[in-house]
């Protein structure tokens, strides 16, 4: 599923990628790559503030392990 999300990102379909990454984020919340990818989707949709917030959450969850 992660690969599928990256595939959509590579094709510029950030919205579809974000839908998949949200599911992954809930399934595996402590995986920093998922949050980073989701943050990148938001960055590329001109939502850098949301992207940064999600990165911060990913770091927080990674530290909490």
């Amino acid at each position: 599923m992660y690969d599928a999300a990256l595939g959509f990102m590579a094709k510029g379909e950030q919205s579809k990628a974000a839908d998949l990454l949200r599911v992954l984020a809930l399934a595996a919340p402590t995986e920093p790559e998922v949050w980073e990818a989701l943050a990148t989707c938001h960055d590329e949709q001109n939502q850098r503030d949301i992207g940064e917030a999600l990165r911060a959450l990913g770091r927080m969850l990674e530290r909490s392990q």
């Binding site: 974000a18 839908d19 949200r22 984020a25 809930l26 959450l57």
Partner: protein, 279 residues
């Protein structure tokens, strides 16, 4: 024979004055008390009805979200069952299994919300997914601060919305305080409790509080207004959370479609590759 009417008439004459004296006041007083009681009862009933209505509205919204998530889960489970039972799916068995995995996550979130059984990480991940799916609105509703308190606030509130206020709230507070973020944990607890109280009928209670405050004087009235202002913020957070959860259930549905699309493309590529190599 004659004595009886006389006696009864004299008894009437003797008893009449006190009856008429008190009768001038008592019926009015009784009426006033009755009217007051009725008004008081009506007011209490109205306030109670408002509280009950508000609580029912909130619970109906939460149920709606859970139903939406449950529908996603059931649709995917049916797809998986079809994949197991029928050869129709053929190459798409793996798609159905993946869709089933999406459904499991959706069901997990729905179940976690319903019972308060989400883990701390799960609650925070839900907060992140909500921020992602709602983008600006939820960030604004919760203050837009990207620190730990912001995330814990959303997580605590989202879980308390589902009915299990204690789970994430107490667990989260304990674990995050252990990690050294005591202030953040306290803030999260405050927000979570605020929204949980909202689920118990904030507006109705706010009106009662304001009514009492008016009777108690200016200072108390100011307190009541402050309380109402706080309640409005919590109500806004609650509304945003409900909207966010609905968006999230739609995001799950889109994820399922995106997965099917992705796997179909992979399947087509494989067929093309096999066809090319076969030549």
């Amino acid at each position: 024979m004659n004595a009886t009417p006389v006696n009864s008439a004299s008894r009437v004459i003797i008893e009449e004055p006190p009856a008429s004296t008190s009768g001038a006041l008592t019926p009015d007083l009784v009426n006033i008390l009755d009217v007051t009681s009725i008004l008081f009862a009506m007011q209490s009933e109205q306030q109670h009805a408002q509280e009950a209505q508000h609580e029912a509205d909130i619970r109906a919204h939460a149920s709606e979200v859970r139903l939406a998530l449950d529908q996603v889960r059931r649709a995917a489970e049916e797809a998986r069952a079809q994949a197991d039972e029928s050869s129709f799916w053929g190459d798409f068995v793996s798609v159905a299994k993946t869709v089933g995995a999406v459904a499991s996550v959706a069901a997990g979130v729905a179940g976690g919300l319903a019972t308060g059984g989400l883990t701390v990480a799960g609650g925070l991940a839900l907060a992140g997914a909500l921020v992602s799916v709602c983008a600006t609105p939820i960030a604004e509703a919760f203050g837009g601060d990207e620190n730990a308190a912001f995330w814990i606030g959303i997580a605590g509130s989202a879980v308390s919305l589902g009915g299990g206020a204690a789970g994430i709230l107490l667990g989260g507070t304990k674990e995050i305080a252990t990690a050294g973020l005591r202030t953040a944990a306290r803030y999260g607890e405050w927000v979570g409790r605020g929204v949980d109280a909202g689920a118990k009928g904030f507006e109705g209670y706010g009106e009662i509080r304001t009514g009492i405050a008016k009777a108690d004087g200016t200072r108390a009235e100011a307190d009541g207004m402050e309380a109402r202002a706080h309640q409005r913020v919590s109500q806004r957070e609650l509304d945003t959370l409900i909207g966010g959860l609905k968006e999230l259930s739609q995001s799950f549905a889109r994820a399922k479609d995106a997965l099917i699309e992705s796997q179909q493309q992979i399947g087509q590529s494989h067929h093309l590759l096999i066809a090319t190599l076969g030549r």
